[in-house]
């Protein structure tokens, strides 16, 4: 059974800049507060087939590969090698609400490992944490687009 988490934020940037930040595979370390380093694994840095390995500040990581995208609309990635998860994918959608603002939505669908125990850990723990991690990622993206600064391991409160 697939689980889902969705989060949306209005970021203070035009859709062109927002799209570049989310679709360039090497750019995620500039705005995602949980990502310490990114390695692009393919010749192409964007588009279907582009792949990256992200390393989290916590020491873990994941391999993400673009499976589908529509320019300035959405990008969908498979996520592999994520502890506890299986068959995981993440979709980032963008929609311009004005010339200077873009609505960004993070969605994920995933299964969990380890049967009933994994289910309980997800129901009471992982799903909530994923939601909060998505909130932090959106805040990081918003801060990065507004200031041009690279987000390290926390988003400065000036954006709040």
């Amino acid at each position: 059974m697939a689980h889902e988490v969705h989060k949306t934020l209005l970021v203070p940037a035009p859709i062109e800049a927002t799209w570049e930040a989310i679709s360039q595979m090497g750019a995620v370390e500039n705005w995602h507060p949980n990502v310490a380093r990114t390695e692009v694994l393919t010749d192409n840095d964007a588009g279907v087939g582009a792949s990256r390995r992200v390393e989290f500040h916590s020491g873990g990581g994941a391999v993400e590969t673009v499976t589908e995208q529509a320019e300035r609309e959405f990008v969908r990635m498979d996520m592999a090698e994520v502890p506890l998860m299986r068959d995981a994918e993440v979709t980032i959608r963008v929609a311009a609400t004005s010339a200077h603002e873009t609505e960004v939505t993070f969605s994920t669908r995933y299964g969990v490992q380890y049967g009933p125990v994994g289910w309980m850990l997800n129901a009471l723990m992982m799903k909530r944490m994923l939601g909060k991690a998505f909130d932090a990622a959106l805040e990081g993206l918003s801060y990065h687009l507004a200031t041009g600064h690279v987000v390290t391991d926390s988003v400065p409160s000036a954006t709040a």
């Binding site: 994941a62 049967g115 009933p116 309980m120 909530r128």
Partner: protein, 286 residues
């Protein structure tokens, strides 16, 4: 205030029966966290527990005018709540968890990883969350009747007199049900849980490492924001509570779990009370 120790104010109950919105709000706010926290242990996940709590208070609002005072208001309200929790459609978590054997196999399959490098306070919070999730799953392996008896008597420390009255069964029947629940659950914990028996290899912290590595943790730790206290702090043991004299205190582990009051649920219930369609179901104010 613990509603299983302190009775409701009869003036407030009477006003609520006449459709006084302030009185209805007071009753909902007083009982909401207790209904929710019991529902969470019965249903196994926050979403199902919130839905059940809303359904319970909808029934309470619809029926409150018919409360005749033949029992205490508390007994009447929690009879509505527990009847719902015993008869509601099985939650997804209940359907997935299954038996103690199946749950134990899942625990064996989850890797035991070295936890050495997880910093505090993330480490402590992760372990606490994993322990709560895992132990809530153990509760779901009990039948609903056994689970409710255990949650009331062992976790929330209701006396057998109060619990049996609300459940509308003889005290001896309630004690027997609780005894069976305790035997089944504690037998599983004896054989599997490292919190109870050091010889068991399973440790919450070792099962938690994967969460940290997966990058799921919001580093501001905001995921804890709905916490009010522990269950043990909200519902201190009273003299006569069924578990008060035991030395091997398995329920103490449950009583350290979070007693929470989600703001989203409070908003849902406020909206429900303000809903004009519902207003037609409520008693008319004088």
């Amino acid at each position: 205030m613990n509603p299983f120790v302190d009775q409701d104010d009869p003036t407030t109950v009477a006003a609520a029966q006449r459709g006084d919105r302030d009185a209805l709000t007071q009753i909902i706010e007083r009982h909401r966290p207790w209904v929710y926290n019991i529902a969470l242990r019965m249903m196994g996940d926050p979403g199902s527990a919130e839905d059940a709590t809303q359904d319970i208070f909808l029934k309470v609002l619809k029926k409150i005018a018919s409360f005749e005072g033949r029992s205490s208001f508390r007994t009447w309200l929690y009879r509505v709540a527990f009847h719902h929790l015993l008869n509601a459609k099985r939650s997804s978590s209940e359907q997935v968890v299954g038996t103690f054997d199946e749950y134990g196999a899942g625990l064996d399959a989850a890797p035991n990883l070295d936890i050495g490098e997880i910093p505090q306070p993330e480490r402590e919070l992760l372990v606490e969350e994993a322990m709560t999730a895992c132990m809530t799953g153990m509760l779901l392996c009990l039948s609903r009747e056994q689970r409710l008896a255990y949650v009331l008597g062992a976790v929330f420390s209701l006396t057998d007199a109060v619990a049996s009255e609300i459940l509308d069964i003889a005290p001896a029947t309630y004690r027997k049900r609780l005894q069976r629940a305790r035997a089944d659950l504690h037998n599983f914990m004896d054989g599997k849980c490292g919190l109870i028996n050091e010889a068991n290899p399973c440790r919450c912290a070792r099962k938690t490492r994967a969460f940290f590595e997966a990058g799921h943790l919001d580093r501001s730790l905001k995921f804890q924001r709905n916490r009010l206290s522990t269950i043990g702090e909200a519902a201190p043991r009273e003299a006569g509570a069924v578990y008060g004299k035991l030395t091997n205190d398995y329920p103490a582990l449950y009583r350290n779990h979070t007693f929470s009051d989600p703001s989203e649920l409070a908003e849902r219930l406020t909206s429900m009370l303000e809903n004009t369609a519902l207003g037609d179901l409520l008693p008319r104010p004088d």
